[in-house]
């Protein structure tokens, strides 16, 4: 960390949005790069502070990366995200990171992985899915269970319906809370869907992310299915400002989500105060 | 004063034991002899914590907001200014009259803990009345369900003049002197918002100063934004200030906040006729309504 000390961690690099993909009516994926190329090389599950300099700054999970760019999938929820959704390719942004611990890619090696995502919660998980696909030989069976409110709200449709199903030893199951005239897939909430699909806990690690209410019921379902707390990994969301464990607000007990998280096993979370 | 304290404890015990109320809010002895902070009693056995002495300064009315949605009925001891705080909250539709039980105390005036601390316990008898109490116009509660026996006669009748002495002093200055006076005061402001949080007129669900995103006021602690806060806060309580003096008391930096509040009271009195906030449930503050015959300072 000696040389890192000379770089001011609170000052972002100026980058640009190079591409914007409409995922759902309120989610867009932004490709961000700097003149020097990729702003930094994050590990799956890590975070980036993205800012429109004249609007504000917020922490987002990095959903994927290319050789030259980072991808962030962002849902419209407030002032900054509203402004980002108005932006066009070419827009200059501030970006700093990577932050957080990321997924324990080493520990997961050789295991079968069950990904459970809901809505925008697929964004952080996707970075790990893509990582596992890149390092396909290191990981066992990949099983992706994903749901959204409606067919229109499904994020990363190309991945869900084209890319991932083609990957070897990979299974994708998609559900929506309520379908429409064209929807031929499964209808129902994610937790019930998980119970229906009944993924066997043996040799598996489950990675789940989604809205708090979904997580709550998914965890109940997982317990029913026999998953142990150590077998469940989730990522948390918090209000963050500094990203480097100083400013104080994202603490869970003595952990800072921006530094020690956002990825926790359920076993770890149960040790921490329930304040998220 | 012993009498009042005993009555307080006895009534609190009865009310809690009968189940007439779920909580009693009063005062208890604090860390030091000169502190009597608020006390919240829910157990009839616990009522001997309650005290009544010259340091029972805190205005308790504001706490009712914390229990707005609990459905509990709460008994509250009210001095004159506490009762006016209650009236303000009622006028702003913040609390249900049925959910509070007010036990009035004829207030002989309270004393300032900080002045007391400076004098020392040996000279307890010499601690002067708090500034706000010297010009108090309503030592007896304006609203109550029962009134504890005792009398407020310990203090001379409220002198009318002097109430705005501080204001007159500032008014006498030149604009530049005034600006220097206020910036010197508000340069010290920490923006801890204690003045806001203690004020019974500040009862917004969410203060604009807690919503920096809304763009009203930045969070920078600097002169212009501190002054923005100062003026905005003062305008906000305009016509609603009950002169309980709590804002000034709680200010850790000792900013003369009441000199600003009183200026507005004085002006409103001049413009719209004498009005005392929180005295009469039926009389709404002059700025909270419009009348065809409102005076205009437009030209």
């Amino acid at each position: 960390m000696a040389e890192a000390a000379r770089v001011n961690p609170l000052v972002p690099q100026v980058g640009r949005i190079t591409r914007i993909i409409d995922e759902t009516p309120d989610v867009k994926t932004f490709h961000v790069t700097t003149e020097a190329g990729k702003p930094f090389t994050p590990m799956p599950g890590q975070l980036a502070m993205l800012s429109l300099l004249d609007v504000g700054e917020a922490m987002f999970s990095i959903t994927s990366q290319g050789l030259e760019h980072l991808e962030l999938a962002i849902k419209k929820v407030g002032m900054l995200t509203d402004a980002l959704h108005e932006a066009e390719p070419g827009q200059a942004v501030g970006i700093r990171g990577p932050y957080g611990n990321g997924f324990p890619v080493e520990e997961l090696k050789g295991k079968d992985l069950l990904f459970i995502g809901g809505g925008i919660g697929l964004a952080p998980v996707r970075s790990l899915i893509n990582y596992c696909i890149e390092h396909r030989q290191d990981y066992g069976h990949l099983w992706i269970i994903y749901g959204a409110r409606s067919p229109a709200d499904l994020c990363f449709k190309d991945d869900l319906f084209k890319n991932w199903p083609q990957v070897e030893n990979c299974r994708v199951d998609v559900t929506v809370d309520k379908g429409d005239a064209e929807w031929k897939g499964h209808e129902g909430f994610v937790p019930a869907f998980v119970e229906e699909l009944h993924p066997d806990p043996a040799g598996k690690v489950a990675i789940t992310c989604g809205p708090p209410i979904m997580i709550k019921f998914v965890l109940q379902s997982m317990e029913k299915l026999g998953y142990k707390d150590e077998q469940i990994i989730t990522t948390l969301e918090m209000r963050m400002k500094c990203g480097i464990g100083k400013c104080g607000r994202c603490n869970l007990g003595s952990c800072y989500v921006c530094l020690d998280g956002p990825v926790f096993t359920l076993a770890q979370l149960k040790q921490l105060p329930n304040e998220y | 004063m012993k009498g009042i304290q005993e009555q307080m404890r006895a009534r609190a015990r009865e009310l809690l034991a009968q189940g007439a109320v779920q909580m009693v809010i009063g005062w208890e002895k604090g860390t030091f002899w000169y502190l009597s902070p608020p006390a919240f009693v829910t157990d009839p056995e616990d009522c001997d914590r309650l005290v009544w002495d010259e340091f029972c300064t805190n205005n308790l009315a504001k706490y009712l907001l914390d229990y707005k949605h609990t459905g509990d009925r709460i008994a509250l001891f009210v001095k004159g200014c506490d009762a006016r705080g209650i009236v303000r909250l009622l006028q702003d539709n913040q609390i249900d009259r049925e959910k509070v039980y007010l036990i009035g105390i004829k207030c002989p005036g309270v004393k300032d803990g900080r002045q007391a601390a400076a004098l020392g316990e040996a000279r307890r008898g010499e601690v002067p009345l708090a500034e706000k109490c010297r010009y108090c116009t309503h030592p007896e509660p304006v609203l109550y369900d029962e009134l504890l026996a005792g009398d407020a006669a310990a203090r001379e009748a409220a002198p009318g003049e002097g109430r705005f002495a501080e204001v007159a002093k500032v008014e006498a200055m030149s604009p530049d002197e005034r600006y220097a006076f206020w910036t010197a005061a508000y340069d010290r402001c920490l923006r801890c918002y204690a003045c806001r949080n203690v004020c019974p007129a500040c009862n917004c669900r969410e203060c604009i100063f807690d919503r920096s995103q809304s763009g009203w006021c930045g969070k920078q602690m600097q002169r212009s934004e501190n002054m923005f806060f100062a003026i905005t806060r003062a305008m906000h309580v305009a016509g609603r200030c009950i002169e309980c003096g709590e804002c000034e008391r709680v200010c850790p930096e000792g900013i003369p906040i009441m000199a600003l509040n009183k200026k507005i009271i004085k002006d409103l009195n001049e413009l719209f006729g004498e009005y005392e906030a929180g005295v009469d449930l039926e009389k709404m503050p002059p700025l909270g309504q419009y009348k065809l015959d409102d005076p205009e300072e437009f030209h």
Partner: protein, 52 residues
């Protein structure tokens, strides 16, 4: 409002309220002219200002 700003140390001329009706073009022009002159006489305002 004017009184409070004055009390905080602002010169009274700096904040004014005027009635000007929709049919009073000349009055509007006159109001602005007078205000501008008042303020020109006072000089730049540094009070209540960011960065001051």
């Amino acid at each position: 409002m004017q009184r409070v700003l004055q009390y905080m140390g602002l010169e009274p001329e700096r904040f004014q309220a005027r009635w000007v009706s929709g049919s009073e073009g000349p009055r509007f022009a006159e109001t602005i002219t007078r205000l501008t002159e008042d303020i020109r006489a006072l000089g730049p305002n540094r009070k209540l200002r960011d960065g001051a």
